[in-house]
Each structure stands twice: as C-alpha cells, then as structure tokens.
C-alpha cells in the first residue's frame, strides 16, 4: 500500500498531449531557423557566381550586353546619406523632447500616437504620398531627393523610438548631478545625456540604414529607376536613381534571375552585417 502511493507520487504521469505540444513547439522553432538558413544558403549558392568585377563596377550596357550595379550602388549610398542627414537630427530632437522636456499629458500622447502610426504605415502608402506630395506638389519629380524625403518620414519612428530607449537608459542620478552643480538643461543634454546615449543613437542610425537599403515599394514611385552614374555630386540629387532593391525588382520583372540573385546576395549579406553591428552595440550599451 505505502509502496504503491510512493511510486505513484514519484512516477511522472505522462501526458500524450504534452509530448505532442512539445514536439510542435520544437518544430515551430526549427522551422523558423530552417527558413532562414534555407534562404541564406540558397541565395548565397545562386548569388555568389553572378558577382564579379563587371557586376560591381559597371552599369547595364546594351551594346556590350553586360550588366552592372555600380549606378544602383551609388544611388543607394546617396539615398542613405541624404535620408539620414535629415532624419537623424529630427529624430534625435523629437526623442530629446519626449524624454527630457515633455510632461506626460495630451501632447505627448498625440506625438507618440502619430509616431507609432508612422511606423505602421506600409511603404507603398509612403510611395504614393511621396509621389503626390514631394514629387508633384513640391515639383521634385522622380528624383533621389524625392525618394530620400519620403524615406525620412519612414525611418523617423525607428530613430525616435530607439533614441528614446537610449535616453531613458541614462541614469536619473546623472541628470540630478548635472542640474545640482548648476548646469542648464541644454548644457546637460549636450555634455552628459547625449554622449551616454551615443551607442543607442548609433544603433538607431544603423537600423535605419538597414530599412533604407531594403526598401523598394516607397522608392519605385519617388526615386524612380535610373541606373546612370552621377555626372555631378549635387546634380545627381535631382536625378532619378533606382536603389539596389528597385533594380532587383525590375530585373525580377524581366525574368533576369541571375542578376536578381547577385543583388539579393549583397542585400542579405548587408542585412547580416547590420544585425551583427546592432547586436554588438546593444551588448556594449548594456555594459
């Protein structure tokens, strides 16, 4: 009798449903990883062979029947730089206002709601808006500047939110200490808060670069699909310029898969690099 109860207490009751669910959990996690690994291997396997010097250093030529992405690379660089030049200061400013100045209330709620709304708007809507507002109303047409302005709105929430997190992570005692010895608010922000939050701000910028490089739907109607090399550094801003992703979409529509895979490999490799960088910075910030 005693033996029996003892064994029933120590013996684990096995439930079939537990094992089934556990198997499903493992399967789901495995699936997520397998999809990623599959994508990376497939893209690398198909993409690496099409990457060579001509591919990287020339523009599409119908006479020589060669294909290259140099023009698109430069356009991507242009769009990244211009977008960040506008979006970073604005985003950091907004984050500083929200964390350092604003008192909780209606105004902050409205700003946070709209920032979240901006983050939720799909890129195709940005594309349409950019086309009619920057393209038609401001007469920028299909140009790199038009695309950059559109993307500025798109990456703004990323920068605001990430910077806000970084600012919130600066210990309150730093602020009190600075104020206590007579620093004014802006002086405190400039000399203490911002340097402390720098890794977070850099993370925000890197995340934004990732988004800009991967964007296509918002650019196809705003920056267009030009692939020519710039004739002048500043002139190029007002010319049409397709980024790597836009070029990839066009090649895809024309059925040129080997070009697509070349670009896809570069994009995936770039995204991988960006993820590693942000991981590194976040871990540095936590220390």
């Amino acid at each position: 009798m005693t033996n029996q109860t003892a064994s029933s207490l120590t013996k684990k009751k096995t439930r079939v449903s537990d094992y089934v669910l556990l198997a499903l959990i493992y399967f789901s996690a495995f699936l997520a990883v397998a999809i990623l690994v599959g994508i990376i291997i497939y893209v690398a396997y198909k993409g690496i062979p099409s990457i060579n010097w001509t591919f990287l250093s020339s523009i599409p030529s119908y006479i020589n029947k060669t294909f290259g992405i140099l023009g698109n690379l430069i356009n991507t660089l242009y769009i990244v730089v211009i977008t960040l030049l506008i979006a970073t200061p604005v985003g950091i400013g907004a984050a500083i206002y929200l964390t350092e100045y604003a008192k909780p209330g209606k105004v902050v709620r409205v700003i946070e709601f709209t920032t979240e709304t901006l983050a939720g708007i799909p890129s195709i809507i940005y594309g349409l808006f950019g086309m009619v507002f920057f393209g038609v109303s401001l007469k920028l047409g299909f140009s790199i500047l038009c695309g950059s302005l559109t993307l500025t709105l798109m990456v703004l929430p990323t920068i605001v939110r990430t910077t806000q997190e970084a600012l919130k992570a600066v210990p309150e005692s730093y602020r009190q200490g600075a104020m206590g010895i007579g620093a004014t608010k802006w002086y405190m922000i400039r000399t203490i808060i911002l340097p402390c939050a720098l890794p977070g701000i850099v993370t925000a910028v890197i995340l934004s670069i990732g988004r800009i490089v991967g964007e296509s739907a918002a650019l196809i109607f705003t920056a267009g699909s030009g692939y020519l090399l710039p004739t002048g550094i500043f002139e190029h801003i007002f010319k049409t310029g397709g980024t790597l992703t836009v070029q990839m979409y066009l090649s895809m529509s024309n059925g040129k898969t080997e070009q697509c895979f070349g670009i896809a490999f570069l994009l995936v490799a770039f995204v991988f690099l960006i993820n590693c960088l942000t991981k590194f910075l976040t871990s540095k910030m936590k220390k």
Binding site: R15, D18, L21, L22, I25, Y26, S28, A29, L31, A32, V33, I35, L36, I39, V43, V90, G93, A94, I96, E100, Y101, A102, I111, T114, E116, T117, L118, G120, I121, P122, S123, I124, I125, G127, L128, F129, V132, F133, V160, T184, K185, W186, Y187, I189, G210, G214, S216, A217, I220, T245, Y249, T257, C260, A264, L267, V268, V271, F272, I274, K279
Partner: protein
C-alpha cells in the same frame, strides 16, 4: 543702469544674471527646436492623411462610391472601363487572415520555445536568426517565392486540378503562394513581440502552477500564454498590419488578375494593384488606384487605433 553705483556684491549678481540671460536664449532656442522636431511626426501623419484623402476621393465622386467599393468588374483600360475593387479588397482581407492563421500559431510556438524552453545558449542562436528574417528585404522574399514556392504550388495545382477542365491554371502564381510568403514575413514580428510579452509574465505564476502539480506544458498553455494574452494580441495586430501592407514580396507570386480570392485563383491585393498598375495608369484609372491606396490607409489607421486604444488599455490594466 545702476551698476555704477551698486556695491560689488550686486554687480557680481547682475553679471551672473546677464550670463544667465544669454544662456537662457540658447536654452529657449533649443527647446523650440526640440518641440518642432517632435511635432514633425504629427505634421507628417496629418499631411499623409490629407493627401491620401485628397487624391483618393475624386474617383469616388466621378465613378461612384458603390460602383468602386462593391463592383466586381475591374477593367480599367477597357473601352467602357469598370472600376470595381470589391475582389481586390476581399483578397487583401482573406489573404491577410489566412497568412495570420498559418503564421501566428508557428510564431507563437516559436516564441514559447525561445522564452520557456530553450536554454540561453540555444535562444542566443535562434533569436538572432528570427531577427535576421525580419531584416531581409521584401524583394528577396518575392524572388524566392517565384523560384521556390511557385513551382511547388504549381505541381500541387496540377495534381489537384488535373481532371478539372474548368479550372484556369495559374502556374503557381495564386493566393496560396502569396499567403505562404506573407505567413513567413510576419513570423519575426509576431515572434519578437510575443516573446517579449511571455518573458514579462512574472516567474511566480509559473512556479505556482508547477507547485500545484501542473506539467511544464500545461503551465505554458494554461498559465503563461493566457497571462501574456494582451501582448500576444498586440503581436497579432502588428502582424496583420505588416501582412496587409506588404507589396513587393507578393506582387510576383499572387498572379495579378482580379478574381475572387479562392486558394488556387490568380488574385490581386490592394498593394499589388497599386504597384503593378501605377506606372502606366492615367486619368480616372490613376485616381481609382489612389482610392485603393486610401482604402488600404483606412485599414492601417483602424489597426493603429485598435493597437493604441483597446490593446494599450488592456495592457495597462494588467499592470
């Protein structure tokens, strides 16, 4: 003014004050700059809303609200053009729902794996992998959809409809292909947000449940997941937002003809209609494309309002 006659002490004070004044101008200017920056988001959302309405409404007037929203014929370039977008709207709704039905269970279980089951070392490998999935550009998903998924679905289609002469073959470019691509694309969003909310469930809940004799799996499904339900709901709504707004990944795999959203029909989503026709559209056709954009925008705003009112409040109550 009185500085000449005032004693030294006062002079020192005034110099501090005047110094302060120049400082306070900088302070003031910086404050204004920050406020302006903060209101950029508000202005942007306002401008986007106004422009979407201004460019989307004219077509509703010229063609008629009922004809656009409830018409099923989409022949914008015909001699007698028809601009019914009902099937397009339905496709987006059905496609998004199916993608959620497929993607969310997998994502939720993967999140459970990350927060409840995996050892820190395993989680340190799986989590970055999921995050990397989120960063891969949508055109890359589209490319893989065309080259991997489409042929597979085509084989399935041939197998199912081999004896059915009424079925129009889509070559694998149909609703199912698009739904599968979308399901994969929402995975990272749903996994990340659900995992965060699962991790936020207090450890006491788990310990109490285990102490009462529940197994680990029972604890997960009967205690932890219900406790994290508002976070999981947020994850699902974010997933809906991502799926309904995705364009470039599905434009090549959805088939792109306007049909009733049945699994093996070639279909057109709100987003893909805009992408594939904007470049050659003009006149009323273009206006109707903007109306499609407006419909999509309305969906997104509804999703955002749900996120910000219903779900946020639910989350706050629990805290």
């Amino acid at each position: 003014m009185e500085a000449v006659s005032t004693p030294v002490k006062d002079r020192a004070e005034s110099s501090i004050r005047s110094h302060r004044k120049s400082k306070s101008i900088i302070e003031h200017v910086m404050y204004i700059i920050f406020v302006v920056c903060a209101f950029c988001a508000v202005i942007a959302v306002g401008a986007i809303t106004i422009y979407m309405v201004i460019s989307g409404v004219p077509a509703l007037k010229t063609v008629g609200i009922a004809e656009i929203l409830f018409g099923t014929e989409w022949l914008p370039t015909a001699e007698n053009p028809q601009y019914g977008i009902l099937f397009i709207v339905l496709t987006s709704i059905v496609g998004t729902s199916l993608a959620i039905l497929i993607g969310v269970p997998i994502a939720l279980l993967a999140a459970v794996f990350l927060s409840e089951i995996a050892s820190p070392k395993v989680a340190a490998v799986v989590k970055p992998a999921v995050e990397l999935l989120a960063g891969i550009p949508s055109v890359v998903y589209g490319l893989l959809g065309i080259l991997i998924l489409k042929p597979l679905i085509y084989k399935l289609e041939l197998f199912i409809f081999q004896d059915d002469p009424t079925h129009q073959m889509t070559g694998g470019a149909n609703l199912i292909s698009a739904v599968l691509v979308l399901a994969i694309m929402i995975l990272p969003t749903v996994v990340n947000v659900s995992e965060t909310s699962l991790r936020a469930v207090p450890q006491d809940y788990r310990s109490s449940s285990l102490a009462l004799g529940a197994s680990k799996i029972q604890t997960i499904f009967k205690v932890t997941i219900p406790a994290a339900k508002s976070g999981i709901a947020t994850a699902i709504v974010l997933g809906v937002g991502r799926a309904i707004g995705e364009a470039m990944a599905i434009v090549m795999v959805a088939g792109n003809s306007v049909n009733l959203p049945a699994p093996f029909n070639s279909v057109r989503f709100l987003t893909t209609a805009i992408v594939s026709e904007m470049s050659y559209s003009e006149g009323t056709h273009r206006q109707v494309l903007f109306t499609i954009g407006l419909v999509l925008f309305v969906f997104i705003i509804i999703i955002n309002i749900i996120l910000n009112t219903v779900l946020k409040k639910g989350g706050e109550q629990r805290d």
